[in-house]
């Protein structure tokens, strides 16, 4: 079975199997044909396969008559920022985010700097399937330009948005592990702008990842091990395109990535009340935070495309997911790891509290995230079958199945990126959370042999 996932805002697959020059070129050509403003930004993360996709994308966009501003290796949130700054028609970010090295993907970004919405994504797909791409004659081929110094544009904007004075005064010591991804090297610029002492880990953009590029406790060992030794105030793990962050507290506790969003929302909603957007798989912590701050919480399907689109439609102030993604809409409508880290530092600095103390302000739940293999052709029917387990219970089926009671919940859905069914369960007690997940896992394993 070859793995290829065509989503609303992009295409993702295994390099050498489905991610080959021709497929990348067809998608990039379709995107270039779709764009109204023929000016596109292109950036990528550090994966060893990156140049193959990058060259294919540049060639195709030029051929479709699009002028291209090449950002080289660049975190996705900075690409998103630059789309608006340079008034481009859109962008392609070449990254597979938290997936391991054998994956790569194209993410399509629109004029507003957000992932394509359903309508835009479908139009690109229609063009892709039709295979009728714009082919410019030699005099109208797109021009290729390298864009330099764009990091300064972004970090000046970030510095202005945050309370940089407070962060500087606090003289923070911060460990960041960009997992040798697109954040590598860029975190140095980040630290200079916000005036904190940076202790980098895995900061070489060498094309390989030292561990899974998914920010979560099991990948946080390296950061946690130096945390106490150097007496750092905060530790951060990034995914390969800096759209997700997980936190390690000053006492070395490797916080679940579920904490990132509620920690920020708890502070931000104090300053600015408004609607909060999350997905069905995220921890209840955010519900409690929204309730405490008297804000409306809305849930949508998993994925940046849905969350941000809904946030814009609902005029929400903040959006986030349990995977460690946070978007503060007035800053930019994008999951942004730099803003996330900067905001946490600002809270620590301005409230003069340790991260472990900030965590204490949140209710504690225990979340269990499991996944089980399922052939792509059966995932949805298997998820449907699981309903039989909960015949007499109230179910929410807007994204897979979610069954809730006052102590916790379990959410079963097909993965958007892998041939897997994801089972996420949460409860006040660790044991019960595990039980909730295991019940479903056991049932599914009888269906998928």
């Amino acid at each position: 079975m070859k793995l290829l996932k065509i989503g609303i805002s992009g295409v993702r697959g295994i390099v050498g199997e489905t991610i080959v020059p021709e497929l990348v070129m067809d998608f990039a050509s379709a995107f270039g044909t779709y764009l109204q403003i023929k000016k596109v930004l292109v950036g990528r993360d550090t994966r060893i396969s990156g140049p193959m996709l990058h060259e294919a994308v540049l060639s195709s966009l030029i051929s479709a008559g699009c002028d291209v501003l090449d950002l080289g290796i660049c975190p996705t949130p900075i690409i998103q920022f630059m789309v608006r700054k340079l008034e481009a028609g859109g962008a392609i970010s070449i990254t597979a985010g938290h997936n391991d090295l054998k994956w790569n993907a194209l993410t399509f970004i629109n004029q507003e700097g957000t992932y394509l919405n359903v309508f835009q994504g479908e139009e690109v797909l229609d063009i892709y399937h039709l295979g009728k791409f714009d082919k410019a004659a030699v005099d109208s081929l797109g021009k290729l330009e390298k864009t330099e110094n764009y990091l300064d544009n972004y970090f000046e904007y970030l510095k202005k948005y945050l309370n940089a004075e407070a962060i500087k005064k606090a003289k923070l010591k911060v460990i960041i592990d960009p997992c040798s991804g697109a954040g590598a090297g860029v975190i140095d610029v980040f630290s200079r702008y916000l005036d904190f002492e940076l202790i980098p880990v895995n900061n070489e953009p060498n094309g390989y990842f030292p561990h899974d590029p998914e920010p979560r406790p099991r990948n946080a060992q390296e950061v946690a091990s130096v945390m106490k030794v150097v007496k750092a105030d905060a530790g951060f793990l990034l995914n390969s395109d800096v759209s997700r962050v997980s936190i390690v507290a000053e006492n070395g506790e490797m916080l679940s990535e579920e904490f990132t969003f509620p920690l920020i929302a708890n502070e931000y909603l104090k300053r600015k009340q408004g609607t909060v957007i999350t997905n069905h798989s995220s921890s209840r912590m955010i519900e409690d935070v929204a309730k405490k701050r008297n804000c409306l919480l809305m849930k949508d399907k998993v994925g940046q495309s849905f969350s941000i689109q809904t946030a814009l439609n609902e005029d929400a102030v903040i959006a986030g997911e349990g995977s460690g993604s946070v978007a503060v809409l007035e800053f930019q409508p994008a999951f942004d790891g730099f803003l996330t880290m900067g905001f946490i530092l600002e809270i620590v600095a301005s409230r003069r509290k340790k991260i472990s103390e900030l965590v204490e302000e949140l209710p504690r739940y225990h979340i269990v995230k499991e996944k089980i293999y399922c052939p792509p052709t059966k995932v949805h029917s298997v998820v449907h079958e699981v309903k039989k387990l909960f015949i007499d219970r109230k179910m929410d089926s807007s994204d897979g199945i979610k069954v809730e009671d006052e102590n916790g919940w379990v959410h079963i859905r097909a993965s958007a990126t892998e041939p897997m069914i994801r089972i996420i369960a949460e409860d006040r007690s660790r044991e019960n959370a595990r039980k909730r997940a295991e019940e479903v896992m056991n049932f599914i394993s009888t269906l998928v042999k």
């Binding site: 390099v15 050498g16 199997e17 080959v20 020059p21 021709e22 990348v24 070129m25 067809d26 050509s29 994966r47 060893i48 396969s49 140049p51 193959m52 996709l53 990058h54 060259e55 294919a56 540049l58 060639s59 195709s60 030029i62 051929s63 090295l101 054998k102 791409f133 082919k135 410019a136 004659a137 030699v138 005099d139 109208s140 081929l141 797109g142 290729l144 094309g207």
Partner: protein, 457 residues
């Protein structure tokens, strides 16, 4: 060009029209097929200066990376420099992004083996089989390589040229040299090269941006600007390169174009006077070469049309040939590299001027004078094939016939060569005689003869 066939896949590579047939997808597939053919390793990637070069090159890089090759980019670079560099760098092979002398809407790929030579017929066959079968050795990420960029790819070529040529003697001539690079790849080396030879260059169209100031084929009708420049600047000689800098045409000190046939004639005369040896040329190259070779008592070996045929013959001969080439301004000096090289041609002609102390127009008058006319008639390959079959019967005992490539008949005072074109659906009709009047007369005769014989079928 005939747009009905805007894509040409032949022994000399792939050529197509940008915006029509030459898409990124097609280019990437050829690069994948070539990478699969070579195996995983270093592949040099160079380009001429065409505007579409970036688009095509990036598709090549993507294709090579996907099959586990390590592309080494050399940027805009003359074809002979790419050839020498490929051999010196011990790469597996090279892809040159170029459409040679075709107009600017064209671009294409030329494929080189590890010797820095164009693939021969057998190699092209094997490689095209892989392309047509469409099974490329795509690799997993653990076999991916990191691409590189070479800053100084012309250096090995320049070194070879300077060590072969008598630089001191040329420098003493203090020649003023007008050079027209046609804004092609030659521009990255020509000004530096001429200065190193102690010449005073007058540069024309030396910005390698692919905006061809004139048709990029160095024919007399395309080089009026160079002729004027020679006169205005009182230059000793004028040179014009084609877009990928493998061919050269010469203008004398009076601003008169010599005709592209004369480039090899003058170069051969000079080389043979220094170091006699066999000469390898194609069937359509001027009779003047035979006369000069006879002077020095060396054999002339004729080959089919196409650079690779001349080169293969050069490499297969037991006695190393002194020089080879084609009448279209392509000079091949095996001591530098077995490839057509406009820089070698420039160097040899300057050396000749220095050694003889004569002006180009004088040198021109010293060689046997012939007039060649190149004509074309619309005909398919199939029609040409049948036509030649008929003619062969009719002319079997009327002259000396060669069937090596189409049909060439040598009569006492002229020769005629009739062959199907490799790149277009036409017959090429070439006649060479001692006088212009005779050449014109015989072209007329053969046009009528072709029309007559075509009626028979």
């Amino acid at each position: 060009m005939n747009r009905a066939t805007s894509l040409k896949i032949s022994v000399s590579g792939v050529r197509g029209v940008v915006g029509e047939s030459l898409t990124p997808q097609l280019v990437a597939k050829f690069a994948q097929a070539f990478g699969t053919y070579l195996g995983r390793g270093e592949v040099i990637v160079g380009q001429d200066s065409r505007q579409s070069g970036t688009m095509v090159k990036k598709a090549v890089l993507s294709g090579l990376l996907s099959v586990g090759c390590k592309p080494v980019e050399v940027g805009i670079c003359p074809i002979p420099s790419i050839q020498v560099f490929t051999k010196q760098a011990r790469a597996m092979g090279a892809i040159a992004v170029t459409a040679s002398h075709n107009p600017k809407e064209w671009n294409g790929l030329k494929f080189l083996n590890k010797e820095g030579l164009f693939l021969n017929y057998h190699q092209v066959d094997e490689f095209l089989d892989i392309y047509h079968q469409g099974e490329f050795s795509l690799v997993d990420v653990d076999k991916y390589k990191v691409p590189e960029y070479e800053e100084n790819p012309t250096e090995p070529h320049a070194k070879k040229l300077l060590s072969y040529l008598d630089v001191n003697s040329i420098a003493r001539g203090k020649f003023k040299v007008a050079v027209d690079c046609c804004n092609g790849a030659g521009a990255v080396l020509a000004p530096w090269f001429l200065e190193r030879l102690g010449c005073q260059p007058v540069l024309l169209n030396c910005v390698p941006d692919g905006r061809f100031a004139h048709h990029p084929e160095p024919l007399p009708e395309n080089i009026a600007e160079l002729c004027r420049t020679v006169i205005k600047n009182k230059a000793d000689v004028g040179f014009v390169q084609d877009a990928d800098a493998d061919r050269l045409a010469v203008v004398n000190e009076k601003g008169e174009p010599l005709g592209e046939e004369m480039t090899l004639v003058l170069a051969a005369k000079h080389v043979l006077s220094q170091k006699p040896g066999p000469v390898v040329i194609n069937l359509s190259t001027s009779q003047a070469i035979d006369d000069i070779a006879a002077e020095y008592g060396v054999p002339v070996i004729r080959t089919k049309i196409g650079e690779i045929n001349v080169v293969e013959t050069i490499l297969s001969l037991e006695e190393k040939p002194a020089i080879g080439g084609e009448g279209n301004g392509g000079v091949i000096l095996p001591d530098v590299h077995p490839c057509r090289d406009s820089f070698t041609a420039m160097g040899l002609i300057l050396e000749y001027m220095a050694a003889s102390g004569k002006a180009v127009s004088e040198l021109q008058n010293e060689v046997p004078r012939y007039f060649m006319i190149k004509d074309r008639i619309d005909k398919t390959q199939e029609e040409t094939y049948r036509l030649i079959k008929e003619m062969r019967k009719k002319y079997t005992d009327k002259g000396e016939i060669s069937l090596m490539d189409g049909m060439k008949i040598t009569f006492s005072d002229y020769w005629v060569h009739i062959r199907p074109s490799n790149t277009e659906p036409i017959i090429r009709l070439i006649v060479e005689a001692k006088s212009r009047a005779r050449a014109e007369e015989m072209v007329g005769f053969w046009r009528r003869e072709i029309a007559e014989i075509s009626k028979w079928k």
